[in-house]
């Protein structure tokens, strides 16, 4: 019985575990800030539902409802971005051509310019949510000043209520890898 008791006590002690694991930790070495979320107002990407879309908008993007994740553009919207580097980047844009406008104006074409150079022309043959994504030559981009992205839609839709000239619905745009 004594042996059994000793075995039980030893087992109980072992079951409690013996490796010392600290309770608290100091902050670790900080990794390169260029990879992290943007510290300043201007970054490489903008979401219309994000914290600072106004900082990225240069012109022709209409004000949206508070908290809304999308905004109407006009005929020639312009955005600006600050890039940490220029290699291996793709331009991405999530946008929509609403069905109600498509019925009236039909297919539209959106021309996209990066720092004044035509990146592509997007032909929208049907309404709905769309994603455009295309690599951008590094030579077109710069890190010492904002990169300007402009779009131009060939046919605007005139809102019957106020006569506003509307292009497309923009959700997110910017540079990804």
């Amino acid at each position: 019985m004594r042996f059994l008791s000793l075995v039980s006590i030893a087992a109980a002690l072992l079951l409690t575990g013996c490796t010392s694991i600290p309770d608290t930790y100091a902050p670790p070495i900080q990794r390169s800030p260029q990879y992290g979320p943007q510290g300043g107002p201007l970054g490489h990407f903008v979401s219309m539902g994000g914290p600072n879309p106004e900082d990225h908008i240069l012109r022709d993007v209409l004000a949206g409802d508070p908290g809304s994740a999308w905004r109407w553009t006009g005929k020639r919207p312009q955005l600006r971005f600050q890039l940490p580097f220029t290699h291996d980047l793709r331009f991405l844009m999530d946008f929509a051509v609403p069905e109600s406008t498509f019925a009236q104006r039909g297919p539209v074409t959106i021309s996209l310019f990066i720092n004044g150079k035509l990146l592509d022309q997007i032909r929208c043959d049907k309404p709905g949510q769309l994603r455009f994504e295309k690599p951008v030559p590094a030579a077109w981009l710069r890190t010492d000043a904002p990169t300007i992205v402009a779009a131009e839609i060939d046919k605007v839709w005139v809102a019957p209520a106020d006569g506003a000239q509307l292009g497309f619905v923009l959700s997110r745009a910017g540079f990804v890898q």
């Binding site: 059994l4 990407f45 980047l89």
Partner: protein, 737 residues
């Protein structure tokens, strides 16, 4: 000297030392058996002893050839001096028909199994971890502290014998040790049946088990299941003898073997309650004292179990790692992994319906890794054995030792039950001699490799040939391994290109028994899970920190703040970064800060490293009380806290609290505002740099691995340099910034 000689020496020396130790123990206990069963019990009683001795040597870093040789020779010398010389009595001779039947089938399958066991080891688990770990222990002269391979956490009682044999004859010697248990199993079954008066049933039962395809392929590989079946059967057998003889010394052996069953495989812990229950039941029925015999069984079992429990408790804070991680919280195996693993083992991913289990189990053998053979479809006939006491006890033991099948539906998990079911089938039909002989011959015929190929699945785990030339290395080992083991060339590529002591990350298992480099397999440990998460983050937008939760509140002096999770659900919670702000200025992360989190406190720094590819994760389903906490070192004026998270947070509910001087936590802000964040740039390079920071410099990617095409196409973007390619695998070096 030819390699075959080393192989045979390694295996024979291990078996001989085991038998010598066992014989010494049996003599010491004053136990006498019939000659035939004496050999069986000597081996099975000695194996636990040798296993414990090797464990102790490995614990003190003395696992080396010279030490093992000296130990073995000392045991043999002691045996030679101390053995009892009076000859043991033999069983009455078997009837001629049954003797001839047993001899023919047993001999044929023994040859098949022997040559397969002696051929180069190509089994999946054998070459991946059973022998991979053995080889590593030998390289390091004993147990290194391994926290990144869950297989190293399992009990490895049989691997200790493999290690002894491996020292002399390497992989095949270890497989031959398992083959020795395979030989022992039918002999033990036959002895049991002869002792208790139903030899014909014993022959049939033994042949049903021995020729069973999954038992054959398992027993001829460096696996452990057949050894486990032999040990469990010995526990049953010894208890039956004890029930007749009531020799207290038998209970010592029962306890040691029941404990050794656990040491061989966790699932066999049932041998201990089975033994205790049986002894208590029989003694109570006889109105005899119960406590002392139970104490003997329990104490002897504990001797065999405690080394493994203690090793895990010391190294991993969890005596039964990789299981029960909720109970024994530790940073080495995630609760979520354990739950997924257990769930997977209960269902096996490839099986669309549970109704297919019998078909796979008895005939096809593909989805459940092996087959029992079509004759076991007649297993219900074993119920006829319930008419006899022996039949009832056999079936009860088979049921108990088959219970782990509920936790893992792989065919291997039924191996411990097969001897009992086989003997019960024998008891049921042995009276009809012609039927019994026909059944044995049919089962043997259907278990021959070239017959099996007519009905089982193409990918069924089974023996396929008699590799005579390979066993004796007429065909070089290397050539055979290249042909038969797909991962072998990858392991050799790693060996060739990766420097010693470097770490290699792999999404899937590699045959680690054929490389000396450390492989971190994605699922085999918590650290590895984290590395996989880092590598996946650039590829999966839902894993990227694109959602910011913002708590805003009137400026307040606070020293300790925490974000508390209050919901219950199935989601995991994760935080990529936690920022503390005063106005528009973020408080710089001071060395005076102290960070805490629950669960997974050891990963809390990932939420404060300014790295979007790392994150603190709960690694278990969310429940109220989980938190991430910061002690700012002194009271600071703050007015907002931001959490950057991946957008997979539907069930999460968060609250920000601060600790008052009294120690009570008070709510600072509830219902944070959520806003979208831009997808970060440079994730691929950041992931590779983080792996390097974690000490991993090489990456193996198979074409079938998630993201393989991206690693290939964007190697420069990741910072990967291709070192070599073999078949579907690529080995990359992670390059500097």
């Amino acid at each position: 000297m030819p390699q075959a000689v080393y192989i045979l020496f390694g295996a024979a020396f291990t078996v001989a030392v085991s038998m010598a130790l066992g014989k010494l123990l049996l003599d010491r206990l004053g136990l006498r058996f019939y000659r035939q069963e004496g050999l069986v019990f000597a081996f099975l009683a000695g194996a636990p002893g040798l296993s414990v001795l090797v464990f102790l040597l490995a614990s003190v870093k003395l696992a080396r050839k010279g030490v093992f040789l000296a130990l073995g020779l000392a045991v043999l010398a002691a045996f030679w001096r101390l053995r009892r010389r009076d000859p043991a009595e033999s069983f009455p001779a078997l009837p001629k028909l049954w003797r001839n039947l047993f001899a023919v089938v047993f001999a044929a399958f023994t040859l098949l199994y022997f040559f397969n066991a002696m051929a180069p080891e190509v089994s999946a688990d054998g070459s991946n971890y059973h022998l991979g770990l053995v080889a590593r222990y030998l390289r390091e002269r004993g147990f290194p502290r391994i926290t990144t391979n869950m297989y190293a956490n399992l009990s490895q009682g049989l691997e200790m014998l493999f290690m002894f044999a491996f020292t002399f004859g390497r992989h095949s010697a270890a497989a031959l040790v398992h083959f020795a248990f395979l030989l022992t199993l039918p002999l033990a079954m036959l002895s049991y049946a002869r002792r208790f008066g139903f030899p014909a049933a014993g022959v049939l039962g033994a042949l049903l088990a021995y020729a069973c395809p999954v038992i054959g392929v398992d027993g001829a590989s460096a696996y452990i299941d057949v050894a486990l079946a032999a040990v469990l059967f010995a526990v049953f057998y010894l208890l039956e003898i004890w029930d007749r003889q009531r020799l207290p010394a038998l209970l010592v052996l029962v306890g040691l073997l029941a404990g050794f069953a656990y040491a061989v495989k966790y699932t066999a812990f049932l041998a201990v309650p089975y033994s205790l229950g049986f002894v208590a039941w029989r003694l109570r029925r006889a109105k005899q004292p119960v406590l002392r015999p139970l104490a003997v069984v329990a104490a002897c079992a504990a001797v065999m179990m405690i080394p493994w429990l203690a090793k895990n408790a010391l190294v991993l804070n969890n005596p039964v790692s990789p299981f029960l991680n909720r109970l024994f919280a530790n940073p080495y195996v995630h609760v979520s992994f354990e739950e997924e693993y257990v769930q997977y083992m209960r269902h096996y991913g490839e099986l669309p319906s549970r109704w297919l289990i019998p078909y796979q189990l008895f005939i096809r053998g593909e989805a459940l890794c092996g087959l029992l053979g079509p004759v076991f479809l007649l297993a219900p006939v074993a119920l006829l054995a319930l008419r006899r006491q022996a039949g009832r006890r056999l079936l009860a033991a088979g049921l108990i030792f088959g219970l782990p099948y509920c936790t893992n539906i792989g065919t291997r998990f039924l191996i411990p039950a097969v001897p009992f079911v086989g003997l019960a089938m024998g008891l049921a039909v042995a009276a009809w001699q012609k039927l019994a002989v026909a059944l044995a011959l049919l089962h043997a015929a259907l278990s021959l490799p070239w017959v099996m190929s007519k009905y089982c699945g193409v990918w069924a785990w089974r023996l396929r040939t008699v590799p005579l030339l390979q066993a004796f290395r007429v065909e070089p080992e290397e050539a055979y391994l290249i042909r038969k083991l797909p991962g072998y060339v990858i392991a050799r590529l790693v060996e060739e290109k990766v420097p010693p002591r470097a770490k290699v990350f792999s999404f899937g298992q590699l045959p680690e028994a054929y490389t000396t480099r450390e492989i971190l397999v994605s699922y085999q440990g918590a650290f590895n899970n984290v590395l996989m998460g880092i590598l996946w983050t650039p590829l999966i937008p839902q894993h990227q920190p694109t959602l910011r939760f913002s708590f805003r509140f009137p400026p307040e002096h606070a020293q300790k703040i925490r974000v508390l999770q209050t919901a219950k659900g199935r989601d995991l919670w994760s935080v990529s970064e936690l920022h503390v702000f005063r106005g528009r200025e973020e408080l710089p992360r001071s060395p005076l800060w102290r960070l805490r989190a629950w669960p997974k406190p050891t990963d809390v720094q990932f939420a404060f490293d300014n790295n979007p590819v790392t994150r603190w994760r709960s690694w278990q389903s969310i429940s109220p009380g989980m938190f991430v906490e910061v002690d700012l070192g002194r009271a600071e004026l703050i007015d907002s806290v931001h959490l950057d998270c991946p957008p997979e947070v539907a069930q999460i509910r968060l609250r920000l609290e601060t600790q008052e001087a009294s120690g009570r936590w008070r709510t600072l802000a509830e219902a944070p505002q959520a806003a979208e964040l831009p997808p970060p740039l440079g994730l691929r390079r950041a992931a590779v740099q983080e792996l390097r920071a974690q000490g991993v410099d090489y990456l193996v990617v198979l074409d079938s691995d998630f993201g393989a095409a991206d690693y290939r196409k964007n190697a420069a973007l990741w910072g990967l340099a291709l070192l070599g390619q073999r078949g579907p695998a690529r080995l990359y070096e992670l390059s500097g910034p």
